[in-house]
Amino acid sequence: MSKRVSPADALRLVTLAIGALVMITPFLYMVSTSFKAQQYVLKIPPQFIPDPATLSNYERVLVRGDFGQYFLNSLFVAVTATAIAVLLSAMMAYGFARYRFPGREWLFRILLLGLMIPALMLIVPQFVLAKWLGLIDTLWGLIVFYVAGNLALNTFLLRGFFQALPQELDDAMQIDGANAWRRFIGLALPLARPALATATIFTFLATWDEYAWALTSITSPENKTLPIAVALLQGPRGTQWGLVFAASIIAILPVIAVFLIFQRHFVQGLTAGAVKG
């Protein structure tokens, strides 16, 4: 099968390819540097293919460093916070979408306020609050604030979805005697799977990558999450770039995997509303 490529199409492809090269080169160079010994990382001319290549950075990060621990911390915090945030948001969204009660619109508007206030604006009073509640320097202290910070957006996303579900199904289950909670678990949640997937993915990414609050709250080395552990690898005199990027790659692999597997949910989530990476 021969397909003729018009000059316009060719130009389009070349432009896209050049752009893509600009986007991807830093990543490739990062991978390359993670296999370089320290004396080669800032060599001129730069090496694109490490020669000699070494695994020592990965070995140092994983075996001698505590990155296994940081990875588990990040995983625990991100998974727990995401699960709680998505469940609570789904409940709130269901309550807002399916029931009429006094003050509903006002409560929802107050919740939307949380969409407009960026996380860092509240970091000072949140620090004071966390200190008062004994949540400083604990993984649960991270989780609680990550849950709170992700409720508004998820509730907003899911409410729209629940509103669009046909009421007739709900009615049918009600006649069969299912109570509100069983209708929520057995009917609304399974039907909302695409929206829940979107909410889950974006919350997971946000909590996995969160930096400012973890940096502020965590002081003990054993409680570090990956973003702050990676940032703190920078030395005051001369950063060990190979080490930094070996750790970075370990930190971003799960995120890139999630992205590649769930691509279509990204598109849906972005088009559904205000999700900024």
Partner: protein, 314 residues
């Protein structure tokens, strides 16, 4: 935002919670029982939201008007607008604000133009489309810390950028060249986001409109300006507002790249706020800066909403 919070128009979607389950249950139910179910659904989440987001919002304002003491037991005294007057005369705050403004100016328009450009090139389905989409979106999903360190490495004195451009610039040791690196990072990381949203918007442009314009003899350029742009105008507004907010809130990249160096000259508002609070332990003044920035963000968003709405109806 108005249509997001509008009252339900469809009566079948939202009804009185008890209608339909009236078997055996008396019609004269107590109001509190009627509202118990929705309350149980909404309360847990809303409680957490109230304690950890709403209260801190109020607290931020309170802290800014008190001489706030971090030490337990110390009494904070009311100092009124003192912090706000101090902010107004604080030259370093103005410098930080100007850096935030520069960041906004040099990252928002490129992200919109390049994002739209790539989206236009990618809008027709082709075997290569998903591949390119993934490549352009990859920086968006990568954590800010990682890409910031990566750019710090690329912009190092003996780094790849100097080598490729044949320069000997010490990028991060001067305010303006450091801002170039910080802005370059912002654009590079953000293009994929605006691209993805523009692609979705472009798919929503009715083909019939484009065809009609073609029949009327409009060239590609004319079709772009008089059909495509008006059709994606709300998306344009959304992206612009989100990017402006994001630009004013830049923190992680600056903190990890220069942390204000050299000598605080690359500070943006939030890195200055952060240092004021957590290095100088001036919680009251830190809150003041946060409150002022929030007000600025709200004001700018409101202005933009109005401008975009007027443009759309003009």
């Amino acid at each position: 935002m108005t249509d997001l919070v509008r009252e339900q128009s469809s009566p079948t979607l939202v009804r009185h919670p008890t209608s339909g389950v009236s078997h055996g249950v008396g019609a004269g139910m107590q109001p509190w029982r009627t509202y118990l179910t929705p309350a149980l659904f909404v309360a847990p989440g809303f409680l957490i939201y109230t304690v950890f987001v709403l209260c801190p919002m109020v607290q931020a304002v309170l802290m800014s008007v008190f001489d706030y003491k971090v030490v337990a037991g110390a009494v904070s005294t009311f100092i009124g607008a003192t912090n706000y007057i101090r902010a107004f005369h604080d030259e370093h705050l103005w410098l930080s604000l100007s850096n935030s403004g520069i960041y906004m100016l040099f990252t928002v328009p490129p992200q919109i133009a390049l994002g739209l450009g790539v989206a236009l090139l990618l809008q027709h389905k082709s075997p290569a489309q998903p591949f390119f989409r993934v490549l352009y979106y990859l920086p968006v999903v990568t954590s800010w810390v990682v890409v910031t360190l990566l750019f710090k490495y690329l912009f190092a004195d003996r780094g790849l950028i100097n080598y490729l451009l044949g320069l000997q610039v010490s990028w991060l040791s001067d305010r303006w060249t450091a801002m170039v690196a910080i802005c370059a990072l912002g654009v590079w990381k953000g293009i994929g986001w605006s691209m993805m949203i523009f692609i979705a918007a472009l798919q929503g442009v009715p083909n019939s409109l484009i065809e009609a314009a073609k029949i009327d003899g409009a060239g590609p350029w004319q079709r772009f300006w008089s059909v495509t742009i008006p059709a994606i105008w709300p998306t344009m507004a959304f992206i612009t507002i989100m990017l402006v907010i994001g630009g004013l809130n830049v923190f992680t990249s600056v903190q990890a790249m220069t942390d204000g160096a050299p000598g605080g000259s690359t500070d943006v508002v939030l890195t200055y706020m952060y240092r004021t609070t957590f290095s100088f332990l001036d919680f009251g003044y830190g809150s003041t800066i946060a409150v002022l920035l929030t007000l600025l963000v709200f004001a700018l968003s409101a202005i933009q909403l109005r401008v975009f709405r007027n443009e759309a109806t003009a």
